[in-house]
Subunit: 200 residues, 2 copies
Amino acid sequence: MTDLPLLPLPLAGEPASERSDAARNRAALLCSAQALVAECGVDDVTMDAVAAHAGVGKGTVFRRFGSRAGLMIALLDQNETHWQAQVISGPPPLGPGAPPWERLEAFGLSRLETTMLHADLLRAAGTGPSRSAPAMSFVVQHVQHLLTQLGVTGDVRLLATALMAPLEIGVLDELRTRGIDTERALHGWLDLARRIVAGG
Amino acid sequence: MTDLPLLPLPLAGEPASERSDAARNRAALLCSAQALVAECGVDDVTMDAVAAHAGVGKGTVFRRFGSRAGLMIALLDQNETHWQAQVISGPPPLGPGAPPWERLEAFGLSRLETTMLHADLLRAAGTGPSRSAPAMSFVVQHVQHLLTQLGVTGDVRLLATALMAPLEIGVLDELRTRGIDTERALHGWLDLARRIVAGG
DNA sequence: GTACTAACCGGACCCAAGTCCGTTTCACTC
DNA sequence: GAGTGAAACGGACTTGGGTCCGGTTAGTAC
C-alpha cells in the first residue's frame, strides 16, 4: 500500500518467534512480491520470480508462506494492518468519535472500497478464508461492537458475519456480472444494515 | 446425485447445439467425473484420470469444460437441476403451496443443507462464481419473489442477494473455523431473514 | 454416393505449483 | 570461541493443469 515496514501484524499475536534469517527473508519476499505484483499484475507473478527477485530459493518461499495463496494472504494482511489502524485510531467517522450508526456506514463504505481495491489479490488468495483468520476476526468483532452499541440483541456475532458477507469479493463479482455497479451495491448494503439495526 | 441423464440444464437455455459426438463425450465425462469423485474424493481426481476413465483424450475434457473448475461447476449444475425441480414443483413447504414465510424458511434450510452436502465440490469449483450464473440467478430470483410476496419493498434483488450471501460455502467454512455449528448458523440466518422482512 | 467444411478429437508438450532432502546457518551453552 | 541441535536454506524433481496443432469425423449439399 505505502511503505513496507510494519512487520508482523501484531493484532493477534502468537508466539512465533522467528530466527533472524527467516524474518529477513520473509520481509524481502513480501517486498519483492509487492513490487512484482505492482509491475506485472497478480496473475503473472510466479513463485519462482518472487524467489529470484528476493534472492532466495523457491523452497524458502513455500516454507514461509505455505502456498501461493498464503503469500497473497500475507500481502493482504499488510494492507489490512494499515486499514485496522484507521478504524481503531483514525479520524471519524471511520475511527472513534462519531455516533455508532455513522461509524457503521463509514465502515461499510470503507470495507467495500478496500475490497474493490485489492480485488485481484483477494481472488488470487483463493476460496475459503481468502483473508487471514485474524483479519476476518477483527472485522466481525468491530461490527459486532457497533451493532451492540446500536441496541441490536440476539446472536449479534452471527448478524455481524451476515452483514459483512455481501461485501466479500465473490458476491461483489457476481453482482457486477449482473450489471449492478458499486454504488447500487453500497445502497443495498446500507438498507440491509438499517433493517438489522431496526430489528432491535 | 441420483441417475445421470437429465441433460443440459434447460432452465436457462442458450442455442448451444452440440455435435452428437461432442454431446456423447460430455455425458461420458460427467458420468466418469461423478464416479471418480465418489470413489476418491474431489481432491484426488485429476483431469487425466477423468479423461482416461471416459475413454477420451485430455484435450476433449478441456474443450468441453474449459478448466477443472468448469468441470466441477458442471457437476454441481446436475445436482442443482434436481434441487430446482423440488423448489418449482416439489411438495411444500419448499415447493409451492405453503405461505411465503414458511417457504422462505424451508428454502434457507434446504440451501444450507445442499451447500454443506456439496461443500468439497463447491470449494474445488473455486473462487468467484463457484456455481454457474444460471444457478445463482435462479436462487436470487426465487428469494426475490418470496420477499416481494412478504411485502418487502426497495431494492429487493439486492436484498435477496445479501440474504443468500451468508449461506455461501466460504462464509460457512469460516463460521465453522470459529466453532459455530450448522444449527446455530441456520438460526442466525432465520433471524436475518426475519429482520429483512420486518423492515418492510 | 461423393465432396466439402466446420467442428471435434487426441495426446505430446509446456509451465508453474508444490515437495524433498542434503547442506548451511543461527542461537544458545559451556 | 568451539560445540551442538534445531531450524532454515536451495534448487533439482515431481505432478497436474492447461495449450496446440495435425489428423479425424459428423453433418450437409449436390
